[in-house]
């Protein structure tokens, strides 16, 4: 695919299809924020997921076969080979979740509760981790450890490590790195809202520092389990690593079969749906585990009287060891993918490290005029801004539902569909959208949103909602409901009460959730590829088209430029928050 100088033309795509004809009959149902929330959840999550999964039992329902009811789609799923792959995915998911969450907990404590000198670096670089696709992380590791890789050129014998890397250990490592920022933000947000009074109470009553830490950890359980669940779901649905390290190491994972069904000619959606159901079964197990662990306990610690925790003053040795730990972690999590991206975008050819290769910026100067960069990046930025705003609004409500004591059925409903959206890989999710919004019946009643930016924004939102919601659950779980009741007693109502009481307590987590969603959406590929409006490709599609034309250097250069652009947006957002947000909004969780 050429990277020529002609800007990619953007057709005039309606954000929503133009309206016309009759007015909508007035609805007698009162439109409250909750009814809008449930309506959106049903339209953007429930119906697409249910329709896609129904194909496993009834291919004819959506013109994917001749049978109204069959279980034959499950035949490949119950073969020995797939059973092994599923077991591999389960083990990888558990190990990645435990590893990422443990590291995230230690990092959150170091960054928020100590004066370790490198905490500022971590805070400013965590967003870059969100932006690194799993294949780029895998690529960085490969560049280091492969034959004629950096370490071999430097004279190290890395064959034993390479054998480990191209297998379960390497896959697990990459999945852990990919899951780390999710777990970190969830736990860090919750830890920021945890005042020091609980630790002080333990200490006053003669408890040791370790016992105080245990109390703190138990109060963070909702956030920890949220982190575990989201990393687990992300890990079992990942395909970027499955197609690289797993493929090279011949270590089968469950998502592979799913893609096999989709890539087959003719496409076999029933088998893919049956495979997705097995992934969902794993997620249900995770939810059951989470619910069982948290049942009947309260973790509400965040109130108007919450005092920021005291920072633990580390000794010189403590500062040195913790800084070494953080820097080492940054090198592993961020340094290696950055190296992968740079080696791919600045070296000639496919980015290999053969001798006499020159390092230069020619790929960058070339793609600045590429039709795959400018307009697609502008379009992706617009869509990411809309998606982040919509997703954070919905996530604030969803996380409230998830942490509420009052509505266990609604809570389980939201919990299941949010995690289902994670467990289903993006491409499957996008197909569910096509099944739903391209139905002749839907078109016949005048709803034409397939092929518009509106549907893409809704799909992005649904795709982002699980991680965005999970990032807020920790904080929402800490807010004492009596504060809202008190506000209402004093005359503040509904949304106003929420803005006055809750908003100041979760302003910073909301900002972080917004940035998380923005960053994650900017380079999203599977949903973009299947749902982008004709003539208006997002930047991820531009990158994919460059790579498809064997322009590896050019494609990766566009990717690096897009990541830099996202980091600029993150920096601007933090600047605006620190400059203009009311002081009260910045108090909880502010770094000192």
């Amino acid at each position: 695919m050429a990277l020529d100088s002609e800007p990619m033309s953007r057709s005039l795509v309606p954000f929503s299809a133009p309206k016309g004809g009759k007015r909508m009959p007035s609805l007698k149902i009162r439109l409250t924020p909750m009814t809008v929330f449930w309506t959106l959840i049903i339209f953007i999550l429930v119906i697409p997921i249910v329709l896609f999964l129904s194909v496993a039992f009834s291919p004819r329902l959506l013109s994917q076969g001749h049978q109204w009811f069959t279980l034959s789609s499950f035949n490949p799923v119950f073969t020995g080979a797939y059973g092994t792959a599923l077991l591999h995915s389960l083990i990888l998911g558990i190990v990645a979740a435990l590893g990422a969450t443990s590291i995230a907990l230690s990092m959150a404590w170091l960054v928020i509760r100590t004066n370790t000198p490198t905490r500022v670096i971590w805070n400013t670089t965590i967003f870059a981790l969100f932006l690194a696709p799993s294949y780029l992380i895998a690529l960085g590791w490969q560049r280091l450890f492969e034959q004629r890789g950096v370490l071999e050129i430097m004279g190290f014998n890395v064959t034993p490590i390479r054998n480990l890397l191209y297998g379960p250990v390497g896959i697990c490592l990459v999945l852990m790195v990919k899951g780390l920022p999710f777990a970190y933000l969830v736990i860090a947000n919750a830890m920021r809202g945890l005042g020091e009074e609980f630790e002080q109470a333990v200490r006053v009553h003669g408890g040791s520092r370790l016992e105080a830490f245990k109390v703190m950890a138990s109060l963070l359980l909702p956030a920890i389990f949220s982190g575990l669940a989201i990393v687990f779901a992300e890990a079992i649905s990942d395909f970027g690593v499955a197609s690289t390290l797993s493929n090279v190491g011949h270590f089968s994972v469950a998502t592979y079969q799913l893609y096999q069904g989709i890539n087959a000619i003719p496409v076999n959606f029933p088998v893919s749906a049956a495979t997705s159901l097995t992934l969902l079964a794993l997620v249900i197990l995770a939810i059951l585990f989470q619910n069982r662990a948290l049942r009947g306990r309260s973790f509400r610690t965040l109130s108007g009287r919450t005092r920021p925790a005291t920072i633990t003053k580390l000794s010189k040795f403590g500062k040195f060891t913790t800084s070494t730990y953080i820097i080492l972690l940054l090198l592993i999590t961020l340094g290696i993918p950055i190296f992968g991206a740079i080696s791919a975008s600045m070296l000639q050819g496919l980015g290999s490290l053969l001798s006499h290769y020159s390092i230069n910026f020619s790929n960058y100067s070339r793609v600045l005029h590429s039709r795959f960069l400018r307009n697609p990046l502008i379009y992706s930025t617009e869509m990411s801004l809309i998606t982040a705003t919509l997703a954070v609004g919905l996530a604030a409500i969803a996380s409230r539902v998830l942490t509420s004591n009052r509505n266990s059925r609604a809570k389980r409903f939201v919990d299941f569909f949010l995690l289902a959206a994670v467990a289903l890989p993006g491409i499957v999710f996008a197909i569910g959208y096509i099944f739903t919004y391209n139905l002749k019946f839907i078109n016949d009643i005048g709803l034409h949103i397939y092929g518009t930016s509106l549907l893409l924004a809704l799909a992005y939102t649904a795709n982002a909602l699980p991680s965005t919601s999970r990032s807020l659950v920790g904080n929402m779980g800490q807010i004492q409901e009596s504060m809202m009741d008190a506000a209402r007693v004093h005359g503040s109502r509904g949304f106003r009460a929420w803005v006055d009481v809750t908003m100041p307590l979760i302003a910073r987590p909301l900002l972080i959730a917004w940035l998380l969603t923005f960053s994650g959406t900017l380079l999203e590929l599977p949903v973009s590829e299947l749902l982008y409006p004709p003539g208006s490709p997002p930047v991820a599609v531009g990158i994919e088209l460059s790579l498809a034309g064997f322009d590896f250097g050019g494609g990766t250069a566009i990717e690096v430029l897009s990541i830099l652009w996202a980091l600029v947006v993150v920096a601007i957002a933090f600047f605006l928050f620190n400059r203009f947000a009311p002081p009260g909004w910045k108090r909880i969780g502010n770094l000192r």
């Binding site: 990277l3 309606p14 339209f43 890539n263 009643i445 299947l530 004709p534 994919e544 498809a548 034309g549």
Partner: protein, 352 residues
């Protein structure tokens, strides 16, 4: 949050569907008539630009992507397709669509050259816009002085652990290679036996062309079985900037398969759109459309490195001569076997 809200949500979801009856959100067809082209061809954007500039009646809209996801999109659209034209490497997908009765037959007879005539469907149900070779053996001549020239030679101990190929489940063009292998060896079973022997001789499987070529560059393998356009791109790159210790060259072991690029029209679209799609296909196969193959830069757009299928077309300057022996497989015979062969590959070749 309360159960009532959940019920209301359901009620609104249902009522919106019914209440919006009569809301006509579909844009009225205004001139020019818009036709979606789903494509995975590197120079399609230039063809679209040239066609749209050449007339004002039709507007071709580009929906670019990889072949796999685009085919998944078409399958998901089911009985309500949104594509007017589909253009991608291979012809098994086109044959499947033709068999299902989904294509509009071309309303003109393209002036195919000898290759085009052999690749084109007898019923003229889709157009052949060019062809590539599956597979080329891209090898490092600096390390492998005598590459295997036949299929059986690849099984010799001398080449143990030195040969790599792509996974047909991920790399679309790799299935035609495997089907061609089976065709050449006389049966599906013989082809499977050959692949098992190749595996026993240390075959390295990567997902697609890029990683297989990278494995060659770093010395993990010394010969990669890849699409000839990918192999050519590598040769062009290293001919321009030679590197000591790495001299990529191409050999064709056995009789490789000539794989066409196919351009098909959705027969279920309104007549006016089909007429526009026919006009576009005619343009692509016209001298003006074919000239793009020669004028586009083959060093950054490997899809123009194909063998033309139309009489009188000048190929891109980087396109070498056809291999001395090649075969063409019947997509109507081999297409329906793809799911089974791919699954077999996963179970027997890809996994340990």
């Amino acid at each position: 949050m309360r159960k009532n809200s959940l019920k209301k949500g359901f009620a609104i979801a249902a009522s919106l569907i019914f209440a919006s009856m009569g809301i006509s959100a579909q844009a009225a067809h205004a001139a020019p008539i818009s036709i979606n082209l789903y494509e995975a061809i590197g120079y399609a954007a230039d063809e679209i630009k040239a066609f749209n500039a050449s007339q004002s009646q039709y507007q071709i809209v580009d929906v670019g992507g990889s072949t796999g996801p685009l085919l998944a999109k078409v399958a998901a659209e089911g009985t309500n397709p949104q594509w007017g034209l589909f253009w991608a490497d291979g012809d098994t997908w086109a044959a499947a669509a033709d068999t299902a009765g989904n294509l509009a037959t071309l309303n003109f007879k393209p002036t195919y050259n000898q290759i085009g005539k052999r690749l084109a469907p007898k019923n003229n149900s889709y157009a052949i816009t060019g062809s590539t070779v599956m597979v080329a053996g891209l090898y490092n001549a600096a390390k492998l002085a005598n590459p295997p020239a036949t299929l059986n030679a690849m099984l010799r101990p001398a080449y143990k652990g030195q040969i790599g190929m792509n996974d047909p489940n991920i790399s679309g063009p790799t299935y035609p290679f495997i089907a061609g292998l089976m065709n050449q060896l006389g049966s599906e079973d013989n082809g499977k036996k050959f692949l098992l022997s190749l595996k026993q001789n240390g075959l390295v499987v990567n997902d697609k062309n890029g990683p297989t070529i990278h494995a060659l560059e770093i010395g993990q393998i010394n010969m990669g079985l890849v699409q000839n356009t990918a192999a050519l791109a590598e040769v062009i790159k290293f001919t321009a900037k030679p590197v000591a210790g790495f001299t990529p060259k191409i050999i064709y072991p056995g009789r490789p398969t000539l794989m066409p690029s196919s351009l098909a029209i959705d027969g279920k679209r309104p007549a006016a759109e089909i007429a526009g799609a026919q006009a576009f296909v005619k343009f692509v196969l016209s001298p003006a459309g074919q000239s793009i193959l020669a004028s586009d830069d083959g060093t950054v757009n490997s899809d123009v490195l194909c063998y033309p299928s139309i009489q009188g077309t000048t190929p891109n300057k980087y396109v070498p001569a056809l291999p001395s022996a090649y075969q063409i497989i019947n997509p109507y015979t081999w297409g329906p076997l793809q799911s089974e062969v791919d699954a077999w590959f996963t179970a027997n070749i890809r996994t340990k």
